[in-house]
């Protein structure tokens, strides 16, 4: 097959005026596809992934003089972008954005509706500035409906959009799981909407507006429960790691500390195979377990039997032996395992991003690429995430054609800056302290040797 020599979004300019995960990740992925992405932040409003609770950790836990450029999550999500820092609270700053909108194709933003209206940058106004612009707005509840002005964030939404009601240990309280779950639904939705918008524009000659609300996306993903309620009056349920139908299903402790293997048995044949693997083939004929209904009724007893076997093998052995017999099973991989798992390695999910020497980030660090492989487009992360304001001059001068005096006027007025005036703190704790207070499970001081990036 002929390899495409040009990236599909080459020549498309995207303004990323969004914060944290959803919009920034979506635009990072559009950048992987070839778009030129310009990230806009404010002098007093650096992206929340540059410091504080969402920002991850510093390279080797060292802040140096610019911690806001060094945080792990910021650098993953914002790969390949250009950085423009301009104060949109000031009129002269908004003029820069308006000029940039005139020469851009897509804007992804997550300001509250009130702010965008106040700035004259809601879609009706945006359309006057550039009728071809594709505007993607992502907010907690979207721009219409009774909750549209409610503050929102993934952790609290996980309850409201119905996921917590069906997540939790069996018989226990509703629970949250994972991290900022709904943000990633919104990331895929933002990227989809941007691509739909670009196609719409090519076909019909003008841009459009996509109004994405994270709540709605989260609700959609519990549609099977919503429909069960509508059709059958069925309540939600918390069944832990069990399955509504298949039995047994669970997550079992293996040899080697905090080590677990998940498995699911979907029919009698797989049950027979599992009994063989654990060295108790006679259980396949045991009447307590011989049908799905019986196995559901005697699930606790089966759990004990399986756990006695898994305790004698590593999580990888458990997975490999069960899979060899055709039983769905998977080791619970942790943050370290993800970097050494042979399957993820073979698929190349993690990519090494190279940093220029002056960033003092070490030569390279592994980050998540993207979960799709295109046979004709060899995508990679193209560049590291930019330092704060790194491309101010490039954007103002080369893209917008501002002359030297206009550029320096914006800089001396503090409207365009390359150092944040406010930054969320990263707690100054040693790695061992982080483990001691439970923020981390453990850390490997020799991680660079293990990863081969020393």
């Amino acid at each position: 097959m002929i390899r495409m020599t040009k990236m599909p979004l080459k020549g498309i300019r995207v303004i990323d005026s969004s914060y944290v995960f959803a919009g920034p990740y979506a635009t990072g992925l559009l950048g992987d596809l070839g778009a030129e992405v310009i990230k806009i932040e404010g002098p007093e409003r650096p992206d929340f992934t540059r410091g504080g609770a969402f920002s991850g950790l510093l390279p080797d836990n060292e802040a140096r003089s610019d911690p806001w450029n060094r945080m792990s999550t910021y650098n993953l999500v914002n790969r390949g972008k250009k950085s423009l820092v301009v104060d949109l609270a000031r009129k002269e700053g908004r003029e820069v954005l308006v000029d940039l909108l005139k020469v851009s194709d897509v804007i992804v933003e997550n300001f509250t509706p009130r702010v965008m209206r106040g700035w004259g940058l809601d879609y009706p106004n945006m359309k006057l500035i550039n009728p071809n612009i594709v505007m993607v707005s992502n907010t907690g509840y979207g721009r219409g409906g009774p909750y549209s002005n409610y503050p929102a964030q993934a952790t609290t939404q996980e309850a409201t959009h119905g996921l917590a009601a069906i997540t939790g240990y069996r018989g226990g309280e509703p629970s949250k799981a994972g991290q900022s779950y709904v943000d990633f639904l919104a990331a895929w939705a933002c990227a989809s909407a941007a691509l739909l918008g670009l196609r719409y524009r090519r076909r019909f000659g003008h841009g459009l507006w996509a109004d994405i609300g994270m709540y709605q996306l989260g609700c959609y993903n519990v549609s099977d429960y919503i429909l069960d309620s509508i059709a059958n009056g069925a309540p939600g349920e918390r069944i832990g790691n069990r399955h509504r139908q298949f039995a047994p299903q669970g997550c079992y402790r293996c040899a080697g500390g905090d080590a677990w293997c998940a498995l699911s048995v979907r029919d009698d044949e797989e049950w027979g195979a599992l009994c063989g693997v654990i060295g108790q083939p006679e259980l396949a004929r045991d009447q307590r377990f011989s049908t799905e209904v019986a196995r559901r009724a005697n699930h606790d007893a089966i759990d004990e039997i399986i756990a006695r076997w898994t305790a004698t093998v590593t999580k990888i052995e458990a997975m490999e032996r069960l899979q060899a017999a055709g039983v769905p099973a998977g080791a619970v991989l942790d943050g370290r395992d993800l970097h050494f798992d042979p399957h993820l390695k073979a698929r190349g999910l993690l990519e090494m991003v190279r940093f220029p020497e002056e960033r003092e980030m070490g030569p390279c660090r592994p980050i998540i690429g993207r979960p799709w492989k295109f046979s004709a487009m060899p995508l990679t992360v193209r560049d590291p995430a930019p330092t704060f304001g790194r491309h101010n001059r490039e954007v103002l001068h080369e893209i917008l054609g501002y002359d030297e005096s206009r550029c320096s006027a914006l800089e001396s007025a503090g409207i365009v800056v390359d150092k944040p005036r406010k930054i969320r703190e990263v707690p100054d704790l040693s790695m061992d302290q982080r483990v001691a207070i439970g923020r981390l499970a453990y850390w490997d001081s020799d991680y660079k040797e293990r990863l081969g990036i020393a």
């Binding site: 599909p8 309850a159 994972g178 990633f184 909407a193 997550c251 402790r253 453990y442 991680y447």
Partner: protein, 398 residues
């Protein structure tokens, strides 16, 4: 009628279950002509619970209904050489094929991308499977919990002293369908501007792992690995009980600590020791007790509205499926679609993922009955006459 973004795109949906069908449904919602091709026994989703009236009838599967709105349906036997020939001809007349078979299945039938694209070089095929087309686990058997375990997300879900915990429901399926939509739209864009089709390989395992943007790079930055939640030391960010249910709150949003203290009520919350993040961690147990005191006699809805509207707090309540089924906000956002289904009858179905006023997701038809559009599709698409179709039907090909 508003123009539809994809009304010039023809899609063959060979996929089953939830992830692939959701991806194809998103294309259909924005105007694509999607033909769902099912094996003689029907899509596996037809036997998945829940069913309407708890009746395990293949036309009453609610998951099938949800994921196949807006599609026409053909029943086709790919084990028969004539069935395979019909599929080849349909693929020749299509822009996109969506499939979710075990890797290698279509190749064995001579229907993989290499074969189908020979006669249609602009064809895009998207395969959405648990572990993708390549790599040592590609032949592994999977279930939702297995995808979750291997993706890394379970290692940070649940309590530290207990087993890792899966998200409820079938999140990787829904999310894989939505993420797959990005990939297939990117391939369509590439074809529009560069003129070439291609095969897109989506792994649900990769999709879920891709959400770990806090967790994953901590290792590559400093060798750090997060675990599950400790039983103490984090006094908020988890659910707490009120009069009629559960709620969850966080600092931030537009609320100062004094607002939050006033919202919950007890005077002691205004004490200096609760005003800082560090203080709230150290005095977590006292904080929880005071919050409980201020909320135990209040309802979820009152708390949610007051916290959000009056105090601009980050505040969530644990809504049950029935709450979502009658949620005024979802109604106002046109989330639901009234569907008239020939077997189920009239039913409200979750439909719109987001709003796009100039080119919205448009509802056109319910999910197809098994083989409902055999005649229409094979006649339209391939020009088969009635005699030929009867002969194929008699032999069980269609």
């Amino acid at each position: 009628m508003l123009p539809a973004t994809l009304d010039d795109v023809k899609v063959l949906d060979l996929s089953q279950g939830l992830a692939g069908p959701i991806c194809a449904k998103i294309l259909a919602d924005f105007g694509a002509d999607v033909v769902k091709v099912e094996p003689p026994g029907g899509d596996a989703a037809r036997s998945m619970a829940p069913h309407f009236g708890n009746d395990p009838h293949p036309e009453k599967s609610l998951i099938f209904l949800l994921a196949n709105l807006n599609k026409r349906g053909v029943r086709l036997n790919l084990d028969d050489p004539d069935g395979r020939e019909l599929l080849r001809r349909m693929a020749r007349a299509s822009d996109i094929v969506v499939e979710s078979f075990e890797p290698g299945y279509l190749a064995a039938l001579g229907l993989d991308y290499a074969a189908l694209s020979q006669e249609n070089p602009g064809l895009i095929m998207i395969s959405i499977t648990p572990f993708g087309q390549t790599g040592p686990y590609s032949a592994y058997q999977s279930e939702e919990i297995v995808t979750y375990a291997l993706s890394g997300i379970m290692s940070i879900s649940g309590m530290a002293e207990r087993e890792p915990l899966k998200h409820g429901g079938m999140q990787s399926q829904y999310e894989g369908g939505l993420s797959g939509a990005v990939a297939v739209l990117a391939a369509l864009h590439a074809r529009d501007v560069i003129g070439e089709g291609q095969h897109v390989d989506v792994s649900l395992h990769d999709v879920i792992a891709s959400t770990l943007v806090i967790h994953q790079p901590m290792y590559g930055w400093v060798g750090a690995v997060q675990g599950r939640r400790q039983p103490s030391g984090s006094s908020y960010g988890h659910v707490q009980r009120c009069k009629d249910g559960y709620f969850i709150w966080q600092t931030g949003g537009g609320a100062e600590w004094s607002d939050i203290a006033e919202f919950f009520g007890p005077e002691a919350l205004k004490e200096e020791r609760f005003a800082s993040v560090a203080g709230r961690v150290v005095h977590g147990e006292d904080l929880d007790r005071l919050v409980l005191e201020g909320t135990k006699d209040r309802t979820m809805q009152e708390l949610f509205r007051t916290a959000s509207e009056k105090y601009h707090m980050l505040f969530g309540v644990v809504q049950e499926p029935e709450d979502l089924a009658r949620c005024p906000h979802l109604e106002a956002r046109d989330f639901f679609q009234e569907v008239d289904h020939p077997v189920i009858g009239r039913i409200k179905v979750p439909f719109r993922l987001w709003s796009m006023p100039d080119a919205p997701a448009v509802y056109r038809r319910p999910a197809p009955l098994l083989g409902q559009h055999n005649t229409e599709v094979l006649g339209d698409m391939l020009g088969l006459d009635a005699g030929r179709m009867e002969a194929l039907a008699a032999r069980g090909v269609i």
